[in-house]
């Protein structure tokens, strides 16, 4: 063996990865308050807001930037990870790349940079996501291979997310429309309460939003929540995905515009720089399911992640489950024997109320979980989990750095 080879440092030890901080822009309804705002400008605002909140971190110390978008063209194209980094005024020496796993984009950006941190390739990274569904309607430029249907690789319903949610209702008849509506109503109420208590505003970065007719404005709150929602109102909504179906605009997340950004670091580096530690990554897993019931994805993903972590579902004291559809959350809760209104689940409400700008949502789950950890030092472990189009789920298990012992 040459001297050079023997001098190469190799280490198989895995390093602890922490969430330093996470923020987001307020989420808008698709093509509404951000109709005159570019997707990359939303992403830049989230990144700058994140850096402004963490002045101890010199931007040139960032080793990499991973940004997700489900549609990577136009103002979400051009390698949005690199492009947004340049536009954010981060030094040109800091690289960036783009990630796509549809709705789990930002979650995947997080796990991908976490993997690089854990193996020692990098110390500090930004992970985030953006989706301007006003500029990029779902399915834009999508060109599914005809083999999908010709060879029945997937069923017709697989590519229409609302139809996959109906299929989940079919598979689990005990997940009734009434339960889905009740869940959605509670999500709206929890979000309204969180807003009233000033819980959500803390992590929103005020974002300039211009309208050609009105001039410049500033978005400071989510546009989508409907605090006046009633069960009667929900019951009367149309079921656009199937006649006499169960999935409505009321028990689903809407179409939204928004961006999120998170700072991840090795625990060692975070301590050295005096950065905050809001959550410690335990492990993560992604799993596939039949595309026509993509909403079931969080179940196998969570089973896999728990097994990897050597934990049981009863060890998890806080859940952030993305609410693409109420039925998909209920399928998850039923599988693990958790009540529909369990206070450990989405205490600040979820995507049904605040919205789901596809690839950005993973980091929103993380910042909510971090707030729960901060408020509940008796909770040791929490998870962020979401379903993913084309039949997947992703789950990240986090440990509460504020855990003080005692009950789980």
């Amino acid at each position: 063996m040459s001297d050079r080879a023997t001098n190469v440092a190799t280490s198989n030890s895995v390093r602890s990865v922490v969430l330093v901080d996470a923020v987001r822009t307020p989420f808008g309804k698709a093509g509404s308050m951000y109709a005159g705002t570019r997707a990359d400008d939303l992403m830049v605002r989230a990144m700058r807001g994140l850096l402004e909140r963490n002045p101890q971190l010199s931007p040139d110390a960032i080793d990499d930037v991973a940004i997700a978008a489900a549609t990577q063209t136009g103002d979400q194209g051009m390698n949005i990870g690199r492009s947004a980094t340049l536009l954010a005024g981060i030094p040109k020496t800091v690289p960036g790349y783009s990630v796509d796993r549809w709705c789990a984009g930002a979650l995947t950006a997080t796990t991908t940079v976490a993997g690089a941190i854990a193996m020692g390739a990098i110390d500090i990274a930004i992970a985030g996501g953006v989706e301007h569904m006003g500029n990029h309607p779902m399915g834009e430029l999508m060109d599914p291979n005809p083999r999908y249907l010709a060879e029945k690789l997937v069923e017709q319903d697989a590519l229409a997310m609302g139809a996959t949610a109906e299929r989940l209702h079919d598979r689990f008849p005990n997940l009734t429309k009434e339960r889905a509506d009740r869940y959605a109503f509670n999500s709206q109420m929890k979000t309204a309460q969180a807003y009233a208590d000033g819980k959500l505003q803390r992590d929103l970065i005020p974002t300039a939003a211009r309208s050609a007719e009105l001039g410049w404005g500033i978005a400071t709150v989510d546009e989508a929540p409907r605090p006046t929602t009633t069960m009667e109102g929900l019951a009367g909504l149309k079921t656009p995905f199937r006649p006499a179906g169960r999935v409505t605009a009321g028990n689903s997340a809407g179409l939204n515009d928004g961006a999120t950004a998170a700072l991840l670091a090795s625990e060692e580096k975070a301590l050295k720089l005096g950065l905050s530690i809001k959550a410690r990554l335990v492990t993560f897993a992604f799993a596939g399911v039949e595309p026509e019931v993509m909403g079931y994805g969080p179940v196998p993903a969570t089973i896999k992640a728990l097994a990897r972590a050597g934990l049981d579902i009863s060890d998890i004291g806080a859940f952030e489950v993305n609410e693409a559809f109420a039925v998909q959350v209920l399928a998850f809760l039923d599988h693990f024997g958790i009540a529909d209104d369990d206070p450990r689940v989405n205490p600040y409400g979820g995507a049904i109320a605040v919205g789901h700008p596809l690839a950005s949502s993973g980091v929103r789950l993380m910042l909510n979980l971090a707030r729960t950890f901060e408020a509940q030092p008796q909770v040791r472990y929490g998870i962020t989990t979401m379903c993913i189009g084309l039949g997947m789920g992703g789950t990240v298990i986090w440990e509460n750095p504020h855990y003080t012992g005692g009950e789980k």
């Binding site: 505003q201 211009r210 007719e213 001039g215 410049w216 404005g217």
Partner: protein
């Protein structure tokens, strides 16, 4: 205020810079009241910056009057994306 200013014969029509007034709630920023934010915008992109000719000045004057009437905590003036204002509209001077 009514002002009649006629441009020289043959001069191009003034590209009018509109002045839009919008209330910005200052509560999320730890203050009380509203900011009356005036956006100068001539409706073109950054390659045709905001300029001021007679009608643009009238528009700005009435916007400031309107903003003040709203009893705001503050008034601010900003431009369209990338451009505040380039100054006087010189396109009529050659005529």
């Amino acid at each position: 205020m009514t002002t009649a200013i006629t441009l020289p014969e043959g001069a191009p029509d003034e590209v009018i810079t509109n002045a839009l007034v919008r209330d910005i709630d200052l509560t999320p920023f730890g203050f009380t009241g509203n900011l009356a934010l005036i956006t100068l915008d001539n409706g073109h992109d950054h390659t045709r910056p905001n300029t001021f000719g007679p009608q643009s000045l009238v528009a700005l004057d009435s916007a400031i009057t309107e903003a003040a009437s709203r009893k705001p905590a503050a008034i601010a003036i900003t431009g369209k994306p990338f451009i505040f204002a380039a100054g006087a509209d010189l396109s009529g001077l050659a005529f």
